[in-house]
Symmetry: C2
Subunit: 189 residues, 2 copies
Amino acid sequence: MITSVSNVFKNLQLENEELKVVESIFSEVTYKKGDTILQTNEKVYYQYYVVKGCLRTFFLDTKGKEHTIQFAINDWWISDYIGYFSESESVLSIECITNATVLKVAKKDLDNTYEKVPKIEHFFRKKLERSTVRFQKRILNNLVLSAKERYHLFLQTYPNIEQQIKNYHLASYLGITTESLSRIRKEAL
Amino acid sequence: MITSVSNVFKNLQLENEELKVVESIFSEVTYKKGDTILQTNEKVYYQYYVVKGCLRTFFLDTKGKEHTIQFAINDWWISDYIGYFSESESVLSIECITNATVLKVAKKDLDNTYEKVPKIEHFFRKKLERSTVRFQKRILNNLVLSAKERYHLFLQTYPNIEQQIKNYHLASYLGITTESLSRIRKEAL
């Protein structure tokens, strides 16, 4: 467990005392393939760092259609960030696509840590900058790229996870039907 | 000018010395209605705090169609955040919809300030959390709300700016045609 948390912040060069503070707010949890970590309309307390495995967040619309918002693999973070940052109830679900090991941390514990360990606030500010870039790119790519181009970009962004996820996961991430996805795959062969 | 910068950080209770450091990295700039602050394919150095006026970022797709990504009114921030955070070239344009006064700050100057004035890093971490919530809500709202519902949400989010912006600005923000927008407005009367 201790190794895992220090690994999350490996570039920060935390002092031993700082590392102890940070380790005390993370807990390691193991899930089985298919487990739901968060359901909709639950209070969102945690964000999750993926040690191992593959997870996704998805939104279920009023017609029962799933929209995959994000995948997370090793060394990525995942949560319902609307609920997490605004301390409100979830609109997304978080599901384990494979067996998974995660480190979870509660917002209130992180908020208390920023003052004690400014390097941690620095880390999360930088992480938010990167995720802003990613989310804005995703919005623009949906406007400008064809489904085929979005598929190839997905393969670059999440290497080696295509085998682990179901067709409808990926189709619902790309915003296309599973039939269109099959067609695109055939063309790519 | 001094009043403006302290107003941006009014909740931070900066010491005089801290305020001086922060003031030194901001500059006030005045623009005319219709001015373009940033064009595509320019290196993005700045983000902008709106003191007065209304600005927008938009993306011009390969078919020549504009997509309005964000509006910013008094007390909001605006930039091409992909370019700004990843220190790359702009994909968006920033345009002044009205005469505008902004405070601009360069990424490199802010990055140098975080260590000197940790309260500023705290401020921008919180700002990024709020903008993450806003952007994720926008993605979900586009998936789940009707054009009519998105229009009414826009009126709540940006009160009093409907009169200042052109029909095609708003239509390109809502992802609908100007004809659909006219129809929705008529129904709302």
